[in-house]
Symmetry: C2
């Protein structure tokens, strides 16, 4: 018999750090939605329709969502009161008969988001975004020799500074950070920043009094590509070649975070059992072969004419690591990020060729490995997309 103290129609307990009304991204499959859940769901449905399809009349919203006209009307009134949508008057459409319907439009600047990218080499950067991920303000701070709690304080102050610059009400703070990060925004380990079990989302939320979420930087970059760049793909892998090497994986438009939130930690896959010793205590890790810091150093120490071969060799190593992964997932879209000078050219070409050469035809026939190395907003956009999903339900 069911536990009598638990109502079966209650939603499952949420593990979110900050309790704000949020829409479950996937409705629970085996329980009937409660009325409260429906209301939230329907509100998000209307917002998502306006977010993705632009201004619409109330009756068009009803058609697009399958909601009744009175329900749409009530929800639009609520959303107008919250300032999230506005009535922008009748459409300029003279081909229709009858009185033109008044259009409702999402107000992109109704609320602001603060987003931080803690993955930079020696710096933290951040921005104030509107609901479309357009930057209203940007700031960055140099890390210098800040480490451990000093580095935490830098991140918190950067968030405060951006918060002060935001002209509108704040939806929340989203952060992409290096490290293994759990679903509460606790950074389990970010070795080069000296962070272990750091509850960064809780600290940010406490300091600023708004919802905060923290995710792995490359996972955020993958969401950034998914929601703001390659918006039509369903499957996607981002490989970041920066201070370390990491990956973000999207399957069926969902981020794969792994059972211990360690999915994408490919930097310490062994690529040469007899290779140099790595800071992880093992030998011949992928990081040593291709991470920006190591590759840059090798290039700097080499003669000009040797550099293309060094870059190509690094690309081949990456291609060989990707071959089994591509074969397991049959994912078509792989995006490389990191310093343009390292990634584009011989490195990218060699990675592509090696990945193709080491996989079966049907697996790589539609494979597209490309660079978004110059696109430095991906982590920020991904963090924004998560806030848009958890706080408004529009993504």
């Amino acid at each position: 018999m069911a536990d009598p103290t638990v109502s079966p129609t209650e939603p499952p307990p949420q593990r979110r750090l900050v309790q704000v009304p949020a829409v479950p991204r996937r409705p629970p499959e085996r329980t009937k939605a409660s009325i409260l859940d429906s209301r939230k769901h329907n509100r998000a449905l209307v917002l998502a329709t306006l977010y993705h399809e632009g201004a619409k009349s109330r009756s068009d919203i009803a058609r697009a969502t399958g909601l009744t006209a009175p329900t749409v009307s009530t929800l639009v009134t609520d959303l107008e009161r919250d300032g999230l949508v506005a009535d922008i008057g009748p459409r300029k459409d003279t081909t229709r008969l009858g009185k033109p319907a008044s259009l409702v439009q999402l107000q992109d600047d109704a609320v602001n988001l603060v987003v931080l990218d803690l993955s930079g080499d020696g710096r933290f950067s951040g921005a104030v975004f509107d609901l479309r991920g357009e930057a209203i303000a940007r700031r960055e701070v140099q890390l210098g020799d800040a480490y451990g709690s000093a580095a935490v304080e830098l991140a918190l102050r950067l968030a405060e500074d951006l918060f002060a610059l935001a002209p509108r009400q704040m939806l929340g703070i989203g952060v992409g950070s290096p490290g293994i990060i759990d679903e509460t925004g606790l950074i389990r380990l970010a070795a080069h920043l000296g962070w272990t079990d750091l509850p960064l989302a809780a600290l940010l939320s406490e300091r600023l009094g708004v919802p905060a979420l923290v995710g792995n930087d490359v996972n955020m970059a993958a969401l950034g590509v998914l929601h703001f760049r390659d918006t039509r793909v369903h499957n996607l892998m981002v490989i970041s070649v920066e201070h370390g090497v990491g990956a973000g994986l999207v399957v069926g438009r969902e981020l794969v975070e792994g059972e211990q939130f360690a999915a994408g930690e490919i930097g310490h896959v062994t690529v040469d059992e007899n290779g140099a010793e790595c800071r992880c205590g093992r030998r011949g890790c992928l990081d040593l072969a291709i991470a920006a810091q190591h590759l840059s150093r090798r290039l700097a120490g080499a003669a000009q004419q040797e550099r293309p071969a060094l870059r190509a060799e690094a690309g081949r190593v990456l291609g060989a690591v990707l071959a089994p992964i591509i074969s397991m997932l049959n994912v078509n879209t792989i995006v490389l990020t990191g310093p343009v000078v390292l990634i584009e050219g011989e490195f990218l070409d060699a990675a592509r060729e090696t990945a193709r050469a080491r996989t079966l035809g049907p697996v790589h026939a539609s494979l597209d490995i490309r660079s978004l190395a110059g696109d430095t907003d991906l982590v920020l956009l991904g963090a924004a997309s998560r806030l848009l999903a958890t706080e408004l339900g529009v993504l």
Copy 2:
């Protein structure tokens, strides 16, 4: 504006071969469910509750599903008429006050399923299952030198023979076959059977007049493990070391099939660029190093005392291919299937050790690589699970 010829509340067009009432496994997220959809959904909800939780009173079903008592009553009456559930009288529970409620039970033998496993070495096998995957009858046929259309005919006759043995109404036919297979059950390529673009599901359904589905054998094995063996895991990889090497991947309890249905085709990942030539035209494929046919031949040609080292070497090769995949996915459960004599012992030990040695601590801390080599029903059970999902919505 929305296309006026398409009602937005209609479910998306189904690409299923045989049109029977079925429950979408994940309700569409941005449209309100139509009344017809709800009825199907609610019927599946009741069936799933009885399937997973055993006999229940109508009021317990209402509590467990969140449906109203009259809705449950109507649905149970429908299901009784279809023979899928039966009223088994009052519970033997004297500790409660009042008149004991009558219990409703799913009838495991109400309908039968025919399932085929075409992955065997030189044979096709199959069974008639009840709704729990219990075998009512089994048959197998030797392939001999059957190839191409002769092999198709063998599969169709095996299905017919099993169909004739089934005592009950047939829910459908589920098949696990080698090859790259699309969502309609078209086998794009199964090289060693000589099949290209073979619409096996359509042929089966036409011949036998019931719903048929065909999926990749290792994908089916992964579903078999998920639904009948390790039923509490959410993420899972099955590696099959048989005629060829293949994998089935489950992430978040969903099968990952790949963008061209080629996910898991790891048999032709290059493991030795200077290795022997493979039938795929390239050199040093994983298949040559560890597939049962090749490994058995190497073992047969070696002296007794050399065999453990050969098995260990094959296990190390597999471990090295798995290391990048495990790091990308942070999946904990990896199940090996294939001939017990090849897989268990040195091979499995070496695969485990190598996979751990070549990955970062947080990635492999909870890694569990184990053998289900002796469990020959996994493909059949997986095919059954898919039928239970598509035809009844209980999985």
